[in-house]
């Protein structure tokens, strides 16, 4: 009896020791993954404040070297970055407004079972998720409508995501009680009234979710602007970033009259400064997203869940 008990406890101890080792591995792995995720972001920040020469010669790795604001000063002097920022804000706000205007009422109508032809109309929307015209036919369409090289194309292209329509429709169907709708109908309320006064106020969570998804999409995309906007005055921030960060165009303003500036830089200094400016630029351009992210992340996560639950 006693012996058996001892055996069990010995077994337990064995398990506990194995678990402890396992937990050590788990914590180590989680730490490693987290470190890998955060390091590039951390490096961007320290690099952007570091001494340009040290950074350029690869001496900055884990700690910043000094605290310099030259890169930021120089970046803020660059007009195209400011213009890109302003354009991006305009495209994001305007484009998201268009998105919501096109998505939410449509989703409401498609969620009402009494709408005649609902299944047919729904199919019409869903087909576009699997089949589309493709790059060139879309390009030709915008060209024929004389929308290319105007700011309006940035508000209109990608105006409707059928995926978001489905997510919103599912929310209208599942999260707002049918009784509420029926009662309002019996009281003689019009669909416009029910949509505006009952459904919209009750669906703030889902509207927050799709607003964020749309806004993030507008803010981070570069491709549409690249093929549709030839005029660089219209370029959004991402396209300006592409020019500087990917195509390696120097972000230092006024290259031509650099010689006339009081602090004329040597070619090496120029390269070093351009390099550290890239980090400052990454930081400045990503800061809005990263800063508002902790406050809105729960909505994004909710979006993933709702999307997974669709039908």
């Amino acid at each position: 009896m006693n012996k058996k008990k001892r055996q069990i406890s010995a077994g337990r101890r064995h398990v506990a020791a194995g678990d402890r080792l396992f937990l050590v591995i788990v914590y180590f792995a989680v730490f490693l993954i987290t470190f890998c995720c955060v390091y590039p972001l951390y490096f961007t920040v320290i690099a952007s404040f570091s001494d340009a020469t040290d950074l350029y010669s690869g001496k900055v790795n884990l700690l910043p070297s000094g605290f310099h604001l030259d890169a930021y000063k120089e970046v803020l002097k660059n007009n195209s970055i400011w213009r890109g920022y302003a354009n991006s804000i305009f495209y994001t706000v305007g484009g998201t407004a268009v998105n919501l205007f096109l998505t939410v009422p449509t989703a409401y109508a498609l969620s009402r079972k009494r709408m005649f032809g609902r299944n047919f109309l729904m199919t019409l929307f869903v087909i576009t998720m699997y089949f589309g015209g493709g790059l060139v036919p879309t390009y030709i369409l915008y060209k024929n409508l004389h929308l290319t090289n105007t700011p309006w194309i940035m508000l209109i292209s990608g105006g409707l995501s059928v995926y978001n329509v489905i997510v919103t429709r599912t929310y209208f169907q599942n999260s707002i009680p049918d009784g509420l709708y029926e009662a309002s109908r019996i009281d003689g309320a019009s669909e416009f009234l029910i949509f505006g006064k009952i459904f919209l106020p009750l669906s703030k969570p889902i509207i927050a979710v799709i607003t964020l998804y749309y806004a993030a999409g507008h803010w981070s995309s570069y491709f549409g602007a690249m093929i549709y906007l030839a005029n660089s005055k219209l370029h959004p921030l991402q396209l300006v970033l592409r020019k500087i960060l990917i195509l390696n165009e120097s972000a230092i303003q006024n290259i031509e009259d650099a010689a006339s500036q009081e602090a004329a830089l040597s070619i090496l200094q120029r390269m070093e400064l351009s390099h550290v400016m890239k980090f400052a630029l990454v930081f400045i351009s990503s800061a809005p997203m990263i800063m508002i992210y902790p406050f809105v992340q729960k909505y994004f996560i909710k979006g993933v869940m709702v999307g997974a639950l669709k039908e």
Partner: protein, 319 residues
């Protein structure tokens, strides 16, 4: 009582009339909903069905002066050009190898969720989640810029580390063999946290009774994962995996174009970047449309196949 043929015809006719009246009534009843639907529907017809109408140029020699409708039909000419293009198989191979590589990293999100699930300290867990979701919110341009900066041959910290460990500096962006790794692993970096969300929520839905029972039966933590947690999230895994497989040929071009350079063009040229190069850059609209249509049709076939498999193995399906 027997009905004559005429009587039958009359009833059929009146049912038809009834039906017409019914349709009219239903249409009249729904008009307010149609008005709400209208903005979305008009957009859909112009901007999403419009390009589908334009797809016919894949079978025509499109001339801007003649318009989409007026251009001459040429049958399958552009498809034949595409299939007999010397690099046809290279493009298919590049597309497939990059997507399959990406698919191979599919378990990473699951493993990360399982690891995180073992951490009981909820504040630590929340912090880790928040940090690992962050890269997901960076734009493609910024992610690719970070890739170039961190992997830089001369001063990138990754190469600094390699040198510190006694290795030789690697010209990551100049070696074609490393392109798919750079592409896929930077995607993994950006999305590993984000992809674990669904699994984390599925794991939190598993009853603690099951876990307790396994512990009492003497299972250690690792065995609990194998026999309780993983079986508990299999439905989620199946769906996400099949969705991932469904998109196997729809490799996007936006990120690849950013990472593409003269040194890796041989392996970084995929079907979608080809449609861009041929269509937008060289202006061969018809050929590009044909390639795009070809790719879209393959996508649909893969999706239908995947959907068929889902229907067989589980109750749920995509459509």
């Amino acid at each position: 009582m027997m009905k004559t043929r005429k009587e039958y015809q009359i009833t059929a006719k009146s049912i038809g009339q009834h039906k017409k009246g019914y349709i009219r009534k239903r249409l009249r009843e729904s008009w307010q909903l149609y008005i709400l639907l209208l903005p979305g529907l008009i957009y859909l017809l112009i901007f999403m069905y419009g390009p589908m109408y334009g797809v016919q140029i894949a079978f025509k020699d499109y001339r801007v002066s003649k318009g989409i409708w007026g251009s001459d039909w040429v049958g399958l000419k552009h498809f034949i050009t595409w299939v007999s293009y010397p690099k046809f198989w290279t493009l298919i191979k590049n597309t497939l190898s990059i997507t399959l590589y990406g698919l191979a990293t599919f378990p990473c999100g699951i493993i990360f969720a399982l690891l995180l699930n073992e951490i009981r300290n909820s504040r630590l867990k929340k912090t880790v989640q928040m940090i690992t979701y962050m890269p997901h919110f960076l734009s493609e341009v910024v992610v690719c810029a970070l890739v170039l900066l961190l992997l830089d041959m001369n001063n990138g910290p990754i190469n600094n580390l390699i040198e510190l460990l006694g290795g030789k500096r690697i010209h990551f962006m100049g070696l074609p063999g490393l392109f798919s790794s750079v592409y896929v692993l930077s995607g993994l970096w950006q999305n590993i946290g984000w992809n674990s969300i669904l699994y984390i929520s599925a794991l939190s839905g598993i009853s603690m009774d099951l876990v307790e029972a396994a512990r009492i039966d003497g299972a250690n933590r690792f065995q609990t994962i194998l026999h309780v947690y993983i079986p508990g999230i299999v439905p989620t895994i199946v769906i996400t995996f099949l969705l991932a497989v469904g998109g196997i040929m729809s490799l996007g071009y936006t990120k690849i174009l950013l990472l593409q350079n003269n040194m890796n063009i041989e392996v970084s040229n995929v079907i979608s970047t080809y449609t861009y190069n041929v269509g937008i850059l060289s202006g061969q609209y018809s050929l590009s449309s044909a390639v795009g249509l070809f790719n879209n049709l393959i996508n649909i076939m893969v999706l239908l196949l995947v959907n068929g498999i889902i229907k067989k193995v589980s109750d749920t399906s995509l459509f």
